[in-house]
């Protein structure tokens, strides 16, 4: 039976629906567990002048007040640059933890925290990208990517326009808040259960804080209640606090953030500012682009540099940029340290070029989808960073197939007709494409390991370095292993991800989980299969044998089948090793930062989406009526899982672009700090007509079973919703001229865009044509 390509349920689905699937905090519900609670600073930027925790120490149930003096190793949890003190003497964002109190119960720890007196000397703060630019507050140097001569091409272009776009960040809002539980195990190791996408780094940071060798720290991740990038680097702090507490108290210590704590203490998607100047021809073809991209990295470096460069890599989306100059810089502000989030900068780069495409179209009075299509890459093109765009024809193929299946052309006219007669309600229709580069752009992360164990009864344990956060990685791993070893899924287990099984693993991130770990598991399984085939051929005295569905038989003679366990038993007697390690590294990827050129990506994932919205002109409120998606996942290993990633990524993108509004006070405090004030999409935002197809005939050579990565790319399919909203807003003003649209486009933001469109339809259209010189 074919296991790869079969639509199967998530491997933990039964645990999910019965409540039996365990998460970190579920394991912490024991009397022995002590609980940590932070003392947080009420300033965005301040010096810690004095700490008096004497009153807290005497409170009921209090076991310890952890401070810098308790740190045996290094007082720092920074994942890349060591710039994140665990117990800071200088507060760098509002609500930053300064100290941690550990008590018998969470409530006792919280009450004790209120008794800790910390005095601060407030310092001036930098809270916006504009302020950071003005004050030259940077986390990094300028990054450059360029091709051709943008300046002279801009000078020669028929049309020129310039503008800017500020795009807000996004809260991850994984349903499971950050959590860690640590104890000292029977072998005197520090053992940490962590909700982390990167157990190896959590291990590294815990060892650093405790002053231990890594082999004295074990980190396990059972599963996460969502990650989305938010637990790639930012799980380390809580694991370190729990481990420090456990090591001091010699008993289990748990840290579980409340939603408010999680939202105010952890980084988000980077807010970004794009400033652009673009030259284009009468037909809408882009001739030159000068783009400055700024991202707000928050107070520390974290992953801001690769996020910034991924934004720059994706400033082309699917469009050829013939003459281009892109300058990027990460700003340092007094906010939480903004971090990885599905798309990892890609969305910030792509939204800029999508904004530009729309402005070109509206300037020329052309339909936006026509201008987009005219700028598509064609086979033979290379990107602005010098990578050949293999499979460029997929962009036009997907565009064409989706336009057809969504009946885009006829609906375009229907919407026009509707808008011509409807005064207070307008509709908008838009189609946008996605191209997303797959691989960690830091080349050495593109490696993975696996360890596969077969027991004498024929049951199998699969270990690999990837973590499960709901994306279905473990399910795909099971299918890959079952395919190679001819098993059904029930005889196999994917074991919890642990640092003592596979060392030095990369984060489960960059959509690469299956590409890397799946290939490593396949490698291990193929070694075992070869050994067992050898045994089976002798047992059956056959030249060739087949493994299928838990039985083994001479090729073509299923009636002679014997259970897999029999072959395994014989192998054991013959002293054939029944375990193997597997390894994979992505071939031929490289990038030179100095020249801004290389082949950073193993391949690209493509897709496109169509959205139709309806907008109320009185209030700016809107509804997504229909969405059509065609997305390229290569040859799907697990169609149910992949479809879930596409749909879920899309709606998460819709949230980023519409209702999810981060509001910060003038003092740098997050005001939208809970579910009642920060609005994720609900069922009501899922379009009533939602048609999702996976691209057929899409096998990707050189990737495990011809598949493609799927985690991040669909997020950016949501751009069509933003563009459809813009089209509807434009319709209120008669349809001509640029419509500036803030992001997120809340009803309030759309209302003002409609009002502007209405008033600008009364004014003259600006002339972008250069005066003849």
């Amino acid at each position: 039976m074919k296991q790869v390509g079969r639509a199967v349920s998530h491997e933990s689905a039964v645990g999910h629906v019965t409540g039996g699937a365990k998460y970190v905090d579920d394991l912490a519900q024991t009397e022995r567990t002590a609980h940590a609670w932070p003392v947080c600073a009420p300033y965005a930027h301040a010096r810690v002048v004095a700490i008096d925790s004497a009153k807290a120490v005497g409170m009921p149930g209090v076991l310890a007040v952890l401070s810098a003096a308790d740190v045996p190793g290094e007082n720092d949890t920074g994942p890349v640059r060591h710039d994140e003190p665990l117990f800071p003497s200088e507060v760098c964002f509002h609500n930053q933890p300064v100290l941690w109190v550990i008590a018998e119960t969470e409530e006792q720890a919280r009450l004790a925290c209120a008794k800790v007196d910390v005095s601060y000397e407030p310092l001036p703060s930098v809270l916006t990208i504009e302020e950071a630019i003005a004050q030259e507050s940077w986390l990094s140097d300028v990054e450059l990517m360029q091709r051709g001569d943008a300046s002279s091409a801009l000078g020669k272009a028929t049309h020129r326009l310039s503008g800017e776009l500020f795009v807000q960040g996004q809260e991850h809002f994984y349903l499971e808040t950050q959590a860690a539980l640590a104890w000292i195990d029977e072998a005197d190791s520090v053992y940490v259960q962590s909700s982390t996408q990167h157990p190896a780094e959590t291990q590294e940071v815990v060892a650093r804080v405790l002053g231990l060798l890594k082999n004295q720290v074990v980190v396990q991740c059972l599963r996460m209640g969502g990650g989305f990038g938010g637990k790639e680097t930012q799980a380390n702090v809580w694991a370190s606090v729990a481990a420090l507490g456990a090591s001091k108290l010699k008993r289990p210590v748990a840290v579980r953030l409340t939603r408010f704590q999680d939202m105010t203490m952890t980084g988000k998607r980077h807010p970004s500012l794009a400033r652009f100047e673009v030259g284009f021809a009468d037909d809408g073809k882009l001739e030159a682009l000068r783009l400055q991209l700024y991202v707000d990295g928050g107070y520390s470096l974290d992953l801001s540099l690769p996020i910034l460069t991924r934004a720059m890599f994706h400033a082309d989306n699917c469009y050829l940029l013939p003459n281009v100059y892109i300058e990027g810089r990460a700003c340092r502000t007094h906010h939480v340290s903004h971090t990885a989030f599905r798309g990892f900068g890609g969305p910030q780069g792509m939204i800029a070029i999508e904004e530009i495409m729309d402005r070109i179209a509206r300037t020329l009075g052309l339909p936006p989808h026509v201008v987009r299509a005219r700028n598509f890459y064609v086979p033979g093109d290379t990107t602005h960073y010098g990578q050949e765009l293999r499979d460029a024809e997929r962009i036009t193929r997907i565009w064409g197939e989706l336009s057809e299946s969504s009946e885009f052309a006829s609906r375009w006219h229907e919407v026009e007709r509707f808008n011509a007669t409807s005064r207070h309600v307008k509709r908008g229709l838009a189609i946008t494409p996605v191209k997303f580069g797959i691989s960690f752009t830091t080349a050495f992360f593109n490696q993975a390991g696996a360890l596969v164990l077969i027991y004498k009864d024929g049951s199998i344990q699969l270990n690999h370095g990837g973590t499960e956060m709901g994306q279905g990685l473990h399910t795909k791993i099971l299918q890959i292993a079952a395919q190679v070893l001819g098993q059904d899924l029930r005889t196999m287990r994917v074991m919890p991800t642990r640092t003592d099984k596979i060392p030095n693993t990369s984060a489960t991130a960059a959509s690469s989980g299956t590409d890397l770990n799946g290939a490593a598991v396949r490698d291990a399984c193929e070694q075992l299969r070869a050994r067992l085939e050898d045994v089976a051929r002798r047992m059956f005295t056959a030249d060739a044998v087949e493994f299928d569905d838990g039985v083994v038989f001479p090729a073509g003679k299923r009636e002679a089948a014997r259970p897999f366990a029999d072959i395994v038993g014989q192998a054991y007697l013959e002293r054939v090793p029944l375990f193997a390690s597997g390894y994979y590294r992505t071939p031929n990827i490289h990038f030179d930062r100095a020249s801004g050129k290389g082949k950073p990506f193993h391949y690209y994932a493509f897709g496109a989406a169509v959205a139709e919205v309806e907008v109320d002109g009185f209030t700016g409120q809107y509804r997504l009526l229909r969405a059509d998606i065609l997305h390229d996942v290569g040859e799907s290993i697990s169609p149910l899982i992949d479809r879930g990633q596409v749909e879920g990524g899309f709606l998460q993108g819709v949230g980023w672009l519409t209702s999810e509004q981060l509001v910060w006070s003038e003092r740098g405090a997050l005001q939208s700090s809970g579910a009642s004030t920060y609005k994720l999409p609900t069922l009501g935002d899922c379009p009533p007509v939602f048609r999702v197809e996976l691209l057929s005939r899409a096998q990707e050579p050189g990737v495990v079973f011809g598949s493609k990565a799927v985690g991040e790319p669909p997020f950016m399919l949501a751009f069509c919703v933003r563009e459809a909203l813009r089209a509807a807003a434009a319709a209120f003003g008669g349809g001509a001229g640029i419509v500036e649209l803030p992001s997120p486009t809340t009803p309030e933001a759309l209302f003002w865009a409609i009002e502007r469109a209405r008033s600008s339809s009364l004014a003259q259209k600006p002339d972008t044509r250069r005066v003849a010189e």
Partner: protein, 467 residues
Amino acid sequence: MVRFTLNGSPVTIDELDPHTTLLAWLRSRGLTGTKEGCAEGECGACAVAVLRADAHGVARYEALNSCLLPVASASGRRIVTVEGVAAPDGSLHPVQQAMVERGGSQCGYCTPGFVMSLFCEYYRPGRDGYDPESISGNLCRCTGYRPIADVARELQRPAPSDPRLPLLQESVPAVGSVSCKGSAGAFLRPSSLPALFDAWEANPDAMLIAGGTDLMVYANQRNQRWPALLSLEALPELRTFALTERELIVGAGFELAALEERMSHEHAGVLPLLEQLLPLFSSRLIRNRATLGGSLGTASPIGDSAPVLLALDAELTLTSRAGQRRIPLSEFFTGYRQTQLAPRELIESVHIPLPAAPRQRFYKVSKRVLDDISTVAAAFALSLDGEGRVVTLRAAYGGVAATPLRALALEEAARGLPWNAETLDALLPTLHDFGTPQSDHRGGADYRRAMIGKLLAKFHADTAGQP
């Protein structure tokens, strides 16, 4: 002492702090399937099912947010958590099976809450096709909802052999009095008004709790604690529902979901404003608990029920030991979260005069369609004479001032005018100085200001052409 039935087994708790939530208690007992996602009743990850009698005394499961339910409130009830949904032999319940097969879970953290909402919907008497409201109070960050909506769309009927059916045929006893103490205070649930006033006098610092969907947010998010919580849940006096030709009387303790069912089904068309309001009032998980009295008593300036009841010219019966008094709702709100209620006085019932003006609209401006809090809410009720002239227009807004507000100048100016575009233009200036909109995380003052007039214009556009 608190006694209830949990997944079929009796539970007795001798000592309990009043603010301890059912969620925290379940998890501390190792029933960790029920999850905390937000602790403010927004995400539904903590949903559990409670067996309750509906308006006709028929037993039904209702999903509640256990993060907002004091454990003591469970007293006398049957509670089912996600651990109690599958059969004892482990075979999955049909809603669980469908969630597994459909790909309804990814990370799994929200899943127990969805399962509980679907479980209650599965057994809901009178279920007639897909009701998106059944899962509108559950947030999922992974799936995009499509597969879960498919599960809800394709719910089967319970099989005749379903082991839960006998329980659903039995009558559910009304909950009785409770008295329970913990180190941090007491939870008291008297079963008559006189007993309530006795308890209140004995505990003058007690806080009243009805559905608790607002109060418990303060306990969870701001760590507010009270020496005693005085529950109104077992007071029959607060649970009246009477519809006459002259008025609708709704007890202050009537749950919004029950009111919704009455007004949208049995008495459809009587008060369109209530029919429009209730599905937009938070989520069903909240409406199953929240009461009309509670939503008025908190005097929130952004509550959605106040504008509607103001536009309907509602009156309140307030009750204290000294007796009853009846006041117009328009005089009830005296300031930001301030009301006319005297010490140890409570809302007993809400009176809505009938017949109401025929043209009624409720508008809720918020960031998303379902399960949101209003940026601005407005309710209008209009009656015209035979020539299309305004007899009465009542207009009330939430979110534009420190209290819910009636637009009296507008109402006055409209009288006698034809309901046409010229009148709208003439009326809009009466709203120029109306309210004192502020900026906050839900919206800017300028947007709120703009909405005051735009919603009147929308009401006009929606009703002017009507016969």
